[in-house]
Subunit: 406 residues, 2 copies
Amino acid sequence: MLGTKFPFLPALVRPNHRRARVPLAAPDDSDPSRTPEPDLEPDRPVRVSPKLSRWSRARSIRSGRTRLDWPALRKRTAPPIPTPSPSSSSPSGEIQPSVAEGAEMDGDGGDNGEMTAGKAIYMVSDGTGWTAEHSVNAALGQFEHCLIDRGCPVNTHLFSGVEDMDRLMEIVKQAAKENALILYTLADSSMAASAKHACDLFGVPSGDILRPTTEAIAAHLGVAPSGIPRGGRKAHLTEDYFQRIEAVDFTIKQDDGAQPKNLNRAHIVLVGVSRTGKTPLSIYLAQKGYKVANVPIVMGVELPKMLFEINQEKIFGLTINPVVLQTIRKTRAKSLGFHGEMRSNYSEMVHVKAELEYASRIFTQNPVWPVIEVTGKAIEETAAVVVRMYHDRKHRCSMPRISRRY
Amino acid sequence: MLGTKFPFLPALVRPNHRRARVPLAAPDDSDPSRTPEPDLEPDRPVRVSPKLSRWSRARSIRSGRTRLDWPALRKRTAPPIPTPSPSSSSPSGEIQPSVAEGAEMDGDGGDNGEMTAGKAIYMVSDGTGWTAEHSVNAALGQFEHCLIDRGCPVNTHLFSGVEDMDRLMEIVKQAAKENALILYTLADSSMAASAKHACDLFGVPSGDILRPTTEAIAAHLGVAPSGIPRGGRKAHLTEDYFQRIEAVDFTIKQDDGAQPKNLNRAHIVLVGVSRTGKTPLSIYLAQKGYKVANVPIVMGVELPKMLFEINQEKIFGLTINPVVLQTIRKTRAKSLGFHGEMRSNYSEMVHVKAELEYASRIFTQNPVWPVIEVTGKAIEETAAVVVRMYHDRKHRCSMPRISRRY
């Protein structure tokens, strides 16, 4: 929230008791999200689960942060709504189907069409919806203490390319039925205003994700935003476009030590043993426009000479905790269908430790390479460290920053 | 902004005239952004440039949107601040170095260390900073009408991993010097409050990017956010983690028609002629957890039999305008060092058209494959279309949505 003091939750989100059971157009019955939540009474306000609240507080205290300044939440003292849990009336097996239902389901992160348990968050966008998705994901990172093991189950639903009012209204009505929160990014201010208005009318809590940022920038630049959805304009064949595509092409070709002769053309070179995440990290960085090469460290295989002839400042070593590495390698071996002897050398602890020590010796011999500990880091987090160091080294500025012109 | 009526710009962003020249600690002189903007007087409020405003309005009328409902901007009628332009006192060559300064510069999207012209936007994060970057990028999409050709130049500066108060204060002071806008994502509410407080003190306009979303979710779930930065917790070796990594591995191995025997293991198969963006699109989708294979259409080369034996519903055709394709291919040929005869067949219009017609015949013969026109679409936009169709087809629901469990 810009420029105002928190808390302002009451203004932000309409409590449940303002929700009315509005007669709605019957949606198609193939919609798996239709089933109403039997536990939720429409006129009961949303409460803080004391159990979750305790958990949150305990965790916060453990982490050395004792202050949890959420008076708007603390004010709500009425009994909590029943949180679906293994001990609740719905058997967890019934309402919480496993994420991995089979190979066909792997790709969509648990979109299994049976999300009747848990709170729904609708993300509505007139464009790709990736900004809404990204922001909601980041915000949900703040609720991990209760999302783990689906302690407070959440289902997100992304509606992208919503450009006409009819579809918008249909979504708002459906959100009212599902008691969903709607978070939207709608460039057209009349669409955004209609979304707000309709949500108020149907008692759906809602929020505009991008508008505060857009308005802050508008005021800063002294220029009004166009109000045109991203998908509505044509992308230009900009230098940036070609740069990103070239970086991805380059990075794919350089994966796993391929073509060491091209190492000098890379912006960033990653070095580490198998399964330290070199490939996904390379690809992530490539999509940001960096040409990345990665070179595996394998015991008994010499590193390419070229690696020591290029600018050493672009080389980054990756290391990882051996126990975690073993877990990752076992999973990998399994997914590749390895078994018995074939996988033993790859994922056995003796070998894992020996290989990490071998890598460590190489890193010691090359003290210019920063060594990044990737244990427990998401790809995005390691990428942030690499990019930050890359720019620091390039500019040697006192204030590390990653700058970009528009 | 959640739950409040716009416009509320005055509350959001502090006008420049509230900025005071506060004595600041001298930053390291290697910082290239130190040079003060000579044109900017600290006590003159930010104004709408009438030229830019006209441009914006003209474009808005052209695009059929005549309403530009930004009274907060219209109210500002005083003379505009001088916009740096080729005709201004600073020669553009001096203040606006070319993005592509050489191979070493390609990767960082114009981080050239000499960004003294243009308005600065500081993105400050206690984590990776990708959410701030993503949101600011999306918001800047609304100002393309004036960013094109650097009509209103903007420089963004990302400060990630800002976890202690000292560094935060240093950044705020530097922002005051550069007349920058600060947009932050700080999970720890005391850090966020300090950022706000310091920005107010130093007259720096500021905004909290993620807090409205976090608060809306907090109220919806009835659970307080943890206040722990993303980087502060350990990522878990979740199913999602392995899924994404496996998808990237799979997708890289399947690039450009490799290993057609594995086509049945893909979630999504992309088919199209060279340079329709199959590879970057595949990679983008892979990072979202989808296993993607792509199969090139090349005249005279038969498509793999396997393509017609797998589930046809996961196949998507890509097509593009021939003129645009030729431009892309010429750029590609140049970057690969092709010249003369070698590139003629690849990027000559006769060949380009013939190949697209050949692809078109294949698409006609396979009417189940949706054909996506990628001309002028960013990779992210095409990805959004593919993912939407993929989920629609899978669930046949009346209300297309992409759902995910947490």
